[in-house]
Amino acid sequence: MNPWLTAPILLPLFGGITQIFMGYAPVNLRRTLGLITTVLLVCASAVLVMMADDGSYRAYAFGNWQPPFGIVLVLDRLAALMVLLTSVLALFCHIYSLGGADGENRQFHALFLFQLMGLNIAFLTGDLFNLFVAFEVLLIASYGLLLHGGGTVRTVPGLHYVVLNLIGSSIFLISVGMIYSVTGTLNMADLAVKIPRVSAEQLPLVKAGGMMLLVVFGLKAAILPLCFWLPRAYAAATAPVAALFAVMTKVGIYAILRVYTLIFGDTAGELANLGMDWIFPLALITLAMGVIGAIGAANLKTLIAWQVIISVGTLLAAISLGTEAGISAALFYLLHTTWVVGGLFLLADLVARQRGSASDGIVTAPRMHNRTLLSVLFLFGAVAAVGLPPLSGFFAKLLILMAAEPGARMAWLWSVVLIGGFLTLVAYSRAGSIVFWRNTEGHIERHGTLTRSVTFSTGALISAGVILVILAGPISRYTDATAAQLLDPEQYTEILETQMVGEGN
């Protein structure tokens, strides 16, 4: 029992509740309190990463119920990494929103914090039904955030997003019900123990449940047949929200990684590595489609939204290799892509503010006021996102390519990733040269000025591309250890023997 595991959930919960009651308080007070919550969250998640780094599992059982009967939170390296990833991204998005984006809606800070709470529950929970609840919490907050700022542009993508996710929730419930009806448990550790023992006649039911779960996680992660909602929704959202949403697809990837290494992993008997044969080709097609979308994008935000889909494809291709090196490389890429893409979303908004009616469209427009700064930031972000040396994207992709073992898969992975990378480079060069170089004479009279908060947060997220390279040694050691821990699910099941408070003395 370790009560500290609740910190990343309770902090945004209390912060969010406070914000709800302060809708009419002075804006500076609301901002300060909101920012304090996010900063505390970063500190808490850094502590959790340090705790998890010793390689043991820590559990917290709500209500002191012995697992598998109650809901447990489980901290391991992967969960700690995801919480830290989210909270760092959230901190900079939050700082950016202080530049004015939070003023369009009184409850922006509350929704933002509740979204973080949902994300952290999803990463920390050790219970399949609780994962569903976490998805709902983060989704309902994201509905609010997506429509935040209003405007008719957002209603239709918002409606599509909401309806699709409600259908996803129904499928999630059906698959959870199917798995429960056979195994009689929804605790992930207990499922890992019970799935290999399922009798042959009930096997198809669990298999169907497992595949339906894959559909749900695929919808969250935006794999190919389920990704058409993403570009419009992300391109329509306000900048800090779109940047925070860079982590939303990663929730689906986290869930796939967790469920299909722990419950349907190598030890699952008949159901070992369920669905992994499907993911590899789908991931590569997703990547290819993302590249095609990026080339055809008509504005910067859409371009970056397609970059999200490219990164989903790359990540899942690496994960479905199923090797320790593949998962480790995927985790490194995950850190890189979430932060850099978040930064690019913020940057696209800064560009749009300075170009008047041309907004972030990839068209000729009058010269921007702060063109030098913005173009350098774009250069760094694009180089990192495309995967050119010397920034983090290059190292992440190199790790992924090196993780493939010789064979047909290696041939497919190498060719799709490398050709895709080249075409993405074309897309970014085209966008950058038109937006920053092909200018007409004169300036826009009324342009948005760069305040310190927006410049700092955009720069910080994009500089992740540099920082990840400098710290590549320690980070890849951590991701290697995470991958090893994930592929050894025996230890996870030991949380079933966690000592409850007041027992054994």
Binding site: V156, L159, V163, A298
Partner: protein, 122 residues
Amino acid sequence: MEIAFAFVIGALTTSGVYLLLRARTFPVVMGLTLLSYGVNLFLFSTGRLATGQQPIIGSTETYTDPLPQALVLTAIVIGFAMTAFVVVLSLRSLADHDDDHVDGRQAPPGEPVSENRGGQNQ
């Protein structure tokens, strides 16, 4: 009882899916509601159907599984909130576009849809 129960779930899900595929927001919302009814009944049956039994171990010889009931309760609460949200959103879409088509205003033949500005499919 099992057969009747299965048919009810099947009918609800089928009509739900059919309505979801309609092009107007009102049938879509109805479809979502029916689908969630079907799902709730399905979840309820995962603990096996039993009548007249207590969900408490030890008080009687046989007992019924209490966990699906807790799951269904959670799913109902969440589903209710989500339905309320999607109703409000559909009304907003109707007000914004003077049309309850799920893609906003339906484009007259030969003209592009105006809200497609942020989209990629042009």
